[in-house]
């Protein structure tokens, strides 16, 4: 009898836990979009546009057609019902979203993904281009897959705006350009979790980027410090410390340094070659 009671209590406990884990959601029937929340409101401004507000602990979800995942305490914005002209089946896509409270946005591309972490962020996608705006302190991590594991490019700044190709286009390199205000830091790490090493760190006051083919042209200005610890020929081979007023750094599609050139005030830059073990 006692054993049966114990089993019943255990089953009830499991049931309660399971129930608490099932959160309500809004999803399309194709399984391309879903969001989990605690409280919500939606309003159809027309039959294909849904204005929404979700709150939760946290709100989280994904848009597979946009390679996008998101999470925040509150999310306000607009969803679009996109109908496939061939199948006539609709799916949902995020047109606009303002995320507040532990905002995390992850945009996946074929090389890896870009994650934005901040207190608040806004994403807009008009079908041609997408914009991610982060008004305050944030970090973004761009992870790419390389032979020995992953390479991460971490950008930290006090604010920034990123232009991307429309997320629904699923481009291999979606990033078109960005502007970040400082102090800014760029840090590239490579390797597996237990054998990670920093390839280079760049700090400055202002950073802009524009894409040129698969390359990323970075312009950084204001007390720029570049520190490279990479002695591997496969990984950029930059082993030095450098202080300049302004620098242009060209990264390849795997965020490997292809070229560094100082600009603006030649003569103020210093280059100190590192020795092994330094």
């Amino acid at each position: 009898m006692k054993k049966a009671t114990t089993v019943l209590i255990a089953l009830a406990a499991v049931g309660l836990v399971a129930q608490s884990q099932v959160k309500p959601q809004l999803s399309d029937k194709k399984g391309r979009f879903a969001v989990w929340y605690d409280e919500f409101s939606t309003e159809f401004s027309d039959k294909n546009t849904i204005d929404f507000e979700f709150t939760g602990s946290p709100v989280h979800g994904y848009s597979r057609d946009q390679n996008l995942e998101f999470s925040a305490r509150t999310m306000i914005g607009k969803l679009l019902r996109i109908t496939d002209p061939k199948t006539k089946v609709s799916s949902l896509q995020l047109s606009k979203g303002t995320l507040s409270g532990g905002a995390v946005l992850t945009i996946a591309d074929l090389n890896g993904n870009i994650t934005f972490k901040s207190a608040k962020s806004t994403i807009e996608d008009d079908g041609e281009t997408a914009t991610v705006a982060v008004p305050g302190l944030f970090s973004t991590v761009n992870t790419t897959n390389v032979e020995i594991g992953t390479r991460t490019l971490t950008l930290t700044a006090s604010g920034g705006t990123f232009k991307l190709k429309s997320l629904a286009k699923k481009d291999k390199n979606p990033l078109l350009s960005f502007e970040m205000s400082g102090p800014v830091m760029i840090k590239s790490d490579e390797g597996l979790a237990n054998g990670k090493k920093t390839l280079y760190t760049i700090t400055g006051q202002k950073l802009t980027m524009r894409a040129e083919g698969t390359d990323k042209i970075l312009n950084i200005s204001g007390n720029v410090h570049i520190s490279g610890d990479d002695s591997g020929a496969e990984s950029g081979n930059f082993l030095a410390d450098m202080d300049v007023n302004q620098a242009t750094i060209i990264l390849d599609e795997n965020n490997k340094i292809k070229k560094i050139s100082s600009k603006g005030s030649p003569g103020t830059g210093t280059l100190r070659e590192k020795k092994d073990g330094s």
């Binding site: 309500p24 959601q25 809004l26 999803s27 399309d28 029937k29 194709k30 605690d38 409280e39 919500f40 409101s41 939606t42 309003e43 159809f44 027309d46 039959k47 507000e53 709150t55 019902r81 006539k88 089946v89 609709s90 799916s91 949902l92």
Partner: protein
């Protein structure tokens, strides 16, 4: 909000009179003395079961209305007149300015006499028509279907309040389940109660 009683009674009172009359057996001869006798013989009627009633309730301003059809209904009576009581196996529509904005069906319905609220219960299906297409369109109608254990329609506020594993589905979307959900009658605006504006 108030029930437009005159309009509402238009359909129910004749029905009640027919049933009330049939409860008393053969109609007495129309003489003054016989009329008095009937009053003494018939006990005060408290409730009457009817078949297939239809009631229409209009808002005071006449802009919105709803129609409830039931296979069976129980009408309660007191000094202030008939109350629609409980109706079973109901279906109906909510109209706004003459246009149907939603349809519903439920095992049971009640028009609350005091709050004048329509209460649907027992597993309710509520269909809102977000963008009603012409009847000639063969492809699809853009319908949103709410399922809930119980649904109240507060005519004066133009709002429905659903509770009990509430879901809203359309041809391409699913919302919920949530324990409680409020919405406009056409399901154009849907929210958990704390978020409804």
């Amino acid at each position: 909000m108030r029930i437009h009683r005159k309009h509402a009674y238009r359909s129910i009172i004749p029905l009640f009179l027919v049933i009330a009359g049939s409860c008393g057996g053969p109609t007495p001869a129309p003489t003054p003395s016989a009329k008095t006798d009937v009053t003494k013989v018939l006990p005060p009627v408290k409730s009457v079961k009817t078949k297939a009633p239809e009631i229409t309730i209009e808002s005071a301003d006449g802009k919105s209305s709803y129609v409830v059809r039931a296979k069976e209904s129980e009408i309660h009576l007191d000094e202030s007149g008939p109350d629609f009581g409980t109706m079973t196996n109901v279906e109906g529509e909510i109209l706004n300015e003459g246009k149907v904005v939603s349809r519903f069906n439920a095992p049971s319905a009640k028009v609350d006499k005091d709050s004048q609220v329509l209460e649907l219960s027992g597993g309710v299906e509520f269909v809102g028509e977000i963008d009603q297409k012409p009847e000639t369109d063969p492809v699809k109608r853009d319908e949103f279907i709410l399922h809930a254990a119980n649904v109240k329609y507060l005519q004066g506020l133009g709002r429905i309040e659903a509770e009990g594993a509430v879901t809203v589905t359309s041809e391409d979307m699913v919302m919920g389940p949530v324990p409680k959900l409020w919405a406009t009658a056409d399901l154009r605006k849907i929210a958990t109660p704390g978020k409804f504006k």
